[in-house]
Structures are given as structure tokens and as C-alpha cells.
């Protein structure tokens, strides 16, 4: 199910980073690091239609360490009404939902020592869903018993999420807020599990964002991040297929250059004191129209990490 081989590879790859956790200046692999920091502006393939207008660095964000990327947020605000339309722009998330939730359920049941056969294994646990959008992930987590806080930078998303959650007494307890991870850090909030699914590719500074996620994770807690790989296959499937051929997503939803590879994600998480324990891929079978969990992380992947005690 999980790519063990890959993980060992990743561990060896990122080991140097463990030693320089708090002092990135002395990282023994400066070339790789440099690439990490600058790739958003220089790494776009020439032929990429989606990346023809690379995002300019939002000047205001550089100092304030905000994760907000206005251009990305505007894209989401424009389609906020369609969150719960299973055939709309968020169809891929709806279709992928049972599969990613199966992964989340099994990893978190193991992590917290809960019985996976019970209906509400997460009873008594506090989860935060960062970049929760319309609540596609928050609602199932609440049904599984978790006390869920959902946050998103787009106000309209929070309205839609709240309206929808109110339709079911179990989900109406979800606490939705229009805020950012870094603001919750300022408020010194802590959660047993921190989830940011399909968000990191839309934020201004992934490394800073991961630090915020880590700060929100209580010690012994878990962090889950899913995103799209910056691979040629991801480019072909996620962008060309989803945005241009199938028209699942509005064109320009994804900026290929801002995708992270699994290695990069593990590295920046490592530096944020999160050690990745498992990684899995999601693959789409066009014949059955279903997603399944696999060890092929070349397109969509999810990482589960634990907060290393400091």
C-alpha cells in the first residue's frame, strides 16, 4: 500500500536535513535547497501553457510570512458556489474522497491506537482541516467522531461550508473560520491531527506553511498533507487532462511550477520537525472511474508524518 522503498530512499535523501533542522544556512546540500527556494520562479517548463504567466512573488507576503497567494485565492472564490456539486469543478475531490479518507482512517487509527472497526474512531480527538474549502473533507472527519475545526482563507467558502454542515446534526458541530494556519499559530492553538489536503500547491511559501502546520500539531500528533507531484506525468494528467481535456477544473487552476515533488515535501517537513512515516499515491482508473491507493506517487500523493518531540 505504501511505498516503503520510496520512504527509505527519501530518508537517505533527507538525512542531512535532519542535522540542519534549525539552521538552514548550514545545510550540506545547498544546491538542492537553493532549487527549493527559487524554483517557483525559474523551474517552469518552457512549453507549459498553464505556467505561461508565472506568479509574481506577492511582495507584501515576503516579510509578513503570510501563506496567502492572492491569485490562487481569487480562483477559488470564483467557484465557491460549486463546492458541493459532485459533477462540478470539484468533482475530482468528490471522487477521490473515499479513497483518501480510507488512507487517513487507517493511518490515524494506527497512530492514535483506535479501533478501525468502530463507526466513530476519532471520538475525543481534535483535528484541524487547513484550507478546508466547502468542507468536503471536514464533514466525513466529523462523522468519524473527530472534533473538527475547518479553516480557509476564502470567506465565501466558509459560508458554503457552514450552510452545508448545518444540514446534518453531526456535521453542524464543525467549527469553521475564515483564517489562516499562521493566525491559528499566533493564537497558540494545538490539534491532535493537522490536515492540509490539496492546499500546499496553492500557498505562497510551502516551507513556511509547513512550519505553521507543525506548530499547530501537538506533540505526539499527526500531520497529513496531500498534493500533486511536479512530474511530467502529473503535468499531463492533472493539468492537461483535468483542465483542458476533461474540463473538470477551470483552466489555470494549477500552476505546475508550484508543485512539490515528494522528496521536496519530505525535506521541508523534516525541517519543520515533522518526520514523514508513510507516503502513498492515489491513482485514477478511467475505466471504473474510481481512485485507489497505490505506491505510485508520480501524480497525486499524500504524506503522513508525526511531530518529532523537541
Amino acid at each position: 500500500m505504501v511505498s516503503k522503498h520510496l520512504l527509505t530512499r527519501l530518508r537517505t535523501l533527507t538525512r542531512p536535513a535532519i542535522h540542519c533542522r534549525r539552521s538552514s544556512n548550514f545545510c550540506p546540500n545547498p544546491k538542492f535547497l537553493h532549487e527549493l527556494q527559487s524554483r517557483r520562479y525559474s523551474d517552469a517548463p518552457q512549453s507549459s501553457p498553464a505556467a505561461s504567466a508565472p506568479t509574481p512573488p506577492p511582495a507584501s507576503n515576503l516579510n509578513s510570512k503570510s501563506s496567502l497567494n492572492e491569485i490562487e485565492l481569487r480562483k477559488f472564490a470564483a467557484i465557491a458556489d460549486t463546492w458541493w456539486d459532485a459533477e462540478g469543478p470539484f468533482k475530482p475531490l468528490h471522487v477521490m474522497n473515499p479513497t483518501r479518507l480510507a488512507f487517513i482512517r487507517s493511518t490515524l487509527c494506527r497512530h492514535f491506537g483506535k479501533d478501525p472497526h468502530c463507526a466513530r474512531p476519532f471520538e475525543g480527538l481534535k483535528f484541524v482541516d487547513v484550507g478546508c474549502g466547502g468542507g468536503i473533507l471536514s464533514e466525513p472527519l466529523a462523522r468519524m467522531g473527530a472534533t473538527v475545526t475547518g479553516i480557509d482563507a476564502v470567506e465565501k467558502n466558509m459560508k458554503i461550508a457552514q450552510l452545508h454542515a448545518d444540514l446534518d446534526p453531526i456535521t453542524s458541530s464543525i467549527d469553521y473560520h475564515c483564517t489562516t494556519a499562521e493566525k491559528l499559530v499566533e493564537e497558540q492553538r494545538k490539534f491532535d491531527a493537522v490536515l492540509a489536503l490539496e492546499v500546499i500547491e496553492h500557498v505562497a511559501d510551502p516551507a513556511e506553511f509547513c512550519k505553521s502546520l507543525s506548530a499547530l500539531t501537538s506533540s505526539g500528533g499527526a500531520t497529513l498533507i496531500s498534493t500533486i507531484n511536479r512530474s511530467m506525468r502529473a503535468y499531463a494528467t492533472a493539468i492537461i487532462m483535468a483542465e483542458y481535456v476533461l474540463h473538470w477544473l477551470p483552466r489555470g487552476t494549477h500552476q505546475w511550477s508550484s508543485f512539490l515533488t515528494p522528496e521536496e515535501l519530505v525535506l521541508i517537513l523534516q525541517r519543520a520537525s515533522i518526520s514523514v512515516q508513510e507516503m502513498a499515491g492515489f491513482v485514477y482508473d478511467p475505466l471504473t472511474g474510481r481512485w485507489s491507493i497505490s505506491d505510485d506517487i508520480s501524480v497525486n500523493f499524500i504524506a503522513y508524518g508525526t511531530k518529532s518531540s523537541e
Partner: protein
């Protein structure tokens, strides 16, 4: 001298239908009596001031009860708050069935697959406390008498091919099983009169609840409505699921016979106007299902008991091959039950799923009717459990489609087989009969094919018969 027993029950098989949607688009099927105020749900099983349930099972027949039992026995679903809506007094009385009671003519052939599922949820032990009969042989023969096939459980390494149980025993066993489970269920002793999807806000077409109105004037809400209310399903009607299709007309007579010796062989014989089947039901009793065309059945309806008995006997023996010596026993008033037989598929809508006869009714030939229904019930409960595991809303159409995609091929295949049998044996074309007889003779010797037929009939195989 033979005496007619129990009741002769007839039913019309007058339409072979396939379900068709009248309304398309998964979201918000608009139904009668919609009510526009949106109430906010609370956490105590009430929505506004009306009771709210996770699942409302409309129709507590064998299939509906099997679903309730199955939900009650799965760790993922046993916390669900379930409503069972049925005016059938048997659901409340809990009266017991006496072993001495004469056997009821309404029986089912339970396949090994269904038996295994009953055992898993602890319902089979209640069946075993009552009259039931395992059979390990099945003999099917053509009415020309030239060909017959004998199936033996040993051919497929099984102890039995099935078990014949009276419907009331199956029903009672499921009820006992449910009562002994630690499960939140509420029985509403009335009928469903109307159903409406609670209007949903424009931004959230999937969040609505179903509102059910009952014959006693009360209402309730449910996240998922399961129509297990039989072939004249009100749920199906209210959800706008239509049945259309091609027709053929047949009736059947059901009665009980007594043998001089114990019989463990199920018999089936194809007569010009339809098959006659004999199923052992224990204590030397057997059940007969005799299918015929409407003219014949109306003739027989007006016949005297004595003449009717003669007809049954001649249909049974008529000098063709060995058969159990049967003697019609007991006596009671004739009662002719007429039921439309429709074939439709397991269609799903937002918040509505159909199971059992509500989704499909088939010719009783091969005793698959209720087994298909049990198959639906177990499949739906499995899909609900899988949905709960990943935190889905159990009324979500995407979840229900998984049930639909699991059951539709299985049921359509079975329907096609039964329809094929039906068509092949209900027309009398002289020479063709010989060919059919030969085909049956063939089946007798080609053992892989035979094995396929048996395993299909015993509910273990999902593939088309001749694959």
C-alpha cells in the same frame, strides 16, 4: 384418495418489466407533499420536532428485516438509528410459530449463500428451531419426459444445495435476531403514504433529508429511505421509478402436498404452459409451485377440489420418470393470491434505494426471488458500512450508486436466465421440444456446465451462466 391441502395461491406473472427513470439527475428528486420550511437538525434524533432516523426501512417483509438484521450485526452500522415502517401486525406481536401448525404454502428456497449470510448475523439458529428442509438433490425434467437432469450437491463438493423454509419462519427468525441485538430500532406500525425530499439550499444540493408521511398522520425524517415494500412498492412509485417493459402473462398455483416417505430432492418439471416445481419443506411435506397461463388458472380456480387434485397428480407424474409418491394432505379454503410480477433493476436516487421485490420480482422458478432480495439487503448494508468507514453521508447518491453497480449486473443476469427459461418452456413447438429435451440430456453429461448451473442457482456465482 388425495385431498387438497392448504391454500392454492395464484399469482399473475403478467409483465416483465425493466425500471426506467422518469426523473433524471441525481439531485433532489422532487416528490409529493414537499414542505418548504427548513428546520435545523439537533443531535437527539429529532429534526425540528419530528423524529429523525439514519435509515427508514419501508416494508418489514423478509428482505427489509434482513437489512435491519444485517445493519444491527455490523460494528460499523450497529449504532445507526433505524426506523422500520410496516403495518404488518407480525412485527409487533412477536407471536411464536408452533411446530405442529400445518406448513404454510408460501415457502422460499434458501441458497447456501443466503444461509451463510444468515449464519454470520446469527439468524440461522432461529430458522433451525423451526420446520425447515435441506435438500441435496435437484431433478429438473422436460415435460416430454425425454430429458431430465439430476443435480447433486456432491458434484460441487457441497453438503446441501439449499434449504426450503416457510416464509413466516424466515421472517420470524429475522425478527428474533433483531430483537436480540443491541440496536436502536423503532417500529412504526403504519404504512407510508407520502415522501418528500426536504428542499435544499442552492449551494448544497446534497444535504437534504427525506421526509416521510405515514398513514397515521405522523411524519419522520430520514437520511436514507430503503424501499423494501414489495412489488407494489410505494417508495418506488413516490420516487418516480417507473416500470415499463414487455409482457407475458402467467399465473401460478401454490399448494402443499404430503409424501409417504421423506424426500430430500427438489423437483422441477417443464410443462407446456410453464413449470411445476416441488420443494421438500420438512416433515414429509412438500410445496408445489405450478405455473400456467391465465386461462388454465381460471379453469382450475373454478374446479372442485377432487378434480384439482387429479390435475396436480397428473401434472406431477403422467408416467414420466421417477418422482416422489405424493399425497395431497390437509384441507383449507382456497385462496388465490394474485401478484404482479415485475422485473426492474436496483436503481438508486439521492436518499432512496430499493431492495427485494420493490426492485425486481421474478418468476418463482428456481426459487431465486427472495435470494435476490437477500442479496440486495446484504449488499446495501455492506455499502452503508463502507460509507460509514469513510465518513460519508449514507444517503449520498454516489455511495448508493455503488450498491446499484454491485447488484444490477447480478440481478439482471439472473432475470435474463429466468426469463430465458420461461420463454423456452412456455411455448409448444412440437419438434422443438425434442431439441429442448436433448439439450437437457446434454446438460446431464456436460458436467462443467452443470456445475455452473448449480452454483449459479445456489447463489455463489456472479458470472453469466454459460461463461
Amino acid at each position: 384418495m388425495n385431498r387438497i391441502t392448504a391454500r392454492r395461491v395464484t399469482f399473475n406473472i403478467n409483465a416483465l418489466k425493466l425500471a426506467q427513470r422518469t426523473l433524471c439527475g441525481g439531485a433532489g428528486v422532487k416528490l409529493s407533499g414537499a414542505d418548504s420550511d427548513q428546520e435545523i437538525a439537533d443531535k437527539h434524533g429529532f429534526h425540528g420536532n419530528l423524529p429523525m432516523h439514519d435509515v427508514a426501512i419501508v416494508g418489514g417483509g423478509m428482505v427489509g428485516m434482513a437489512l435491519a438484521c444485517s445493519l444491527a450485526h455490523k460494528p460499523l452500522t450497529n449504532q445507526l438509528n433505524v426506523a422500520i415502517i410496516d403495518s404488518n401486525p407480525a412485527l409487533l406481536s412477536g407471536g411464536c410459530i408452533k411446530k405442529e401448525d400445518p406448513p404454510d404454502p408460501r415457502v422460499s428456497t434458501v441458497t447456501p449463500a443466503t444461509m451463510a449470510l444468515f449464519k454470520e448475523m446469527g439468524a440461522w439458529k432461529y430458522v433451525e428451531q423451526h420446520r425447515h428442509a435441506y435438500f441435496d438433490k435437484m431433478q429438473v425434467w422436460d415435460y416430454t419426459g425425454l430429458g431430465y437432469t439430476r443435480y447433486n450437491a456432491r458434484d460441487i463438493n457441497k453438503e446441501v444445495l439449499g434449504c426450503v423454509v416457510e416464509n413466516k419462519v424466515l421472517h420470524k427468525s429475522l425478527l428474533s435476531c433483531l430483537q436480540n441485538a443491541d440496536f436502536q430500532q423503532k417500529i412504526y406500525p403504519c404504512r407510508l403514504s407520502s415522501m418528500a425530499m426536504q428542499p435544499s439550499s442552492s449551494s448544497s444540493p446534497h444535504g437534504s433529508l427525506a421526509k416521510l408521511e405515514l398513514s397515521d398522520g405522523n411524519s419522520l425524517y430520514a437520511k436514507l429511505v430503503v424501499g423494501s415494500d414489495g412489488s407494489k412498492s410505494r417508495v418506488k412509485e413516490l420516487a418516480g421509478i417507473n416500470s415499463t417493459g414487455w409482457k407475458y402473462s402467467q399465473n401460478a398455483i401454490i399448494c402443499t402436498v404430503q409424501h409417504t416417505d421423506e424426500n430430500r430432492c427438489a423437483w422441477q418439471r417443464f410443462l407446456p404452459n410453464g413449470p411445476i416445481a416441488l420443494l421438500p419443506i420438512g416433515d414429509n411435506f412438500s410445496n408445489i409451485v405450478w405455473t400456467m397461463n391465465p386461462d388454465e388458472s381460471s379453469d382450475r380456480k373454478s374446479m372442485s377440489e377432487v378434480d384439482f387434485v387429479k390435475e396436480v397428480n397428473s401434472a406431477l407424474d403422467n408416467g414420466y420418470g421417477p418422482h416422489p409418491k405424493s399425497q395431497l394432505s390437509g384441507s383449507s379454503a382456497f385462496s388465490w393470491l394474485t401478484a404482479d410480477t415485475t422485473l426492474s433493476a436496483n436503481e438508486c436516487f439521492e436518499r432512496v434505494a430499493l431492495i427485494g421485490d420493490a426492485a425486481h420480482t421474478v418468476h418463482p422458478l428456481a426459487g431465486q426471488g427472495v435470494n435476490m432480495g437477500f442479496g440486495d439487503a446484504f449488499s446495501l448494508s455492506k455499502v452503508i458500512a463502507e460509507g460509514i468507514a469513510v465518513g460519508s453521508d449514507i444517503g449520498e447518491v454516489t455511495l448508493l450508486r455503488r450498491y446499484e453497480s454491485e447488484r444490477k449486473p447480478a440481478n439482471l443476469t439472473m432475470m435474463a436466465i429466468l426469463d430465458g427459461f420461461q420463454k423456452a418452456y412456455s411455448v409448444d413447438f412440437g419438434p422443438l421440444n425434442v431439441l429442448r429435451a436433448a439439450a437437457f440430456q446434454g446438460a446431464h453429461y456436460i458436467s462443467p456446465l452443470k456445475r455452473n448451473i448449480i452454483s449459479y442457482a445456489s447463489g455463489e456465482q456472479r458470472f453469466p451462466l454459460f461463461s
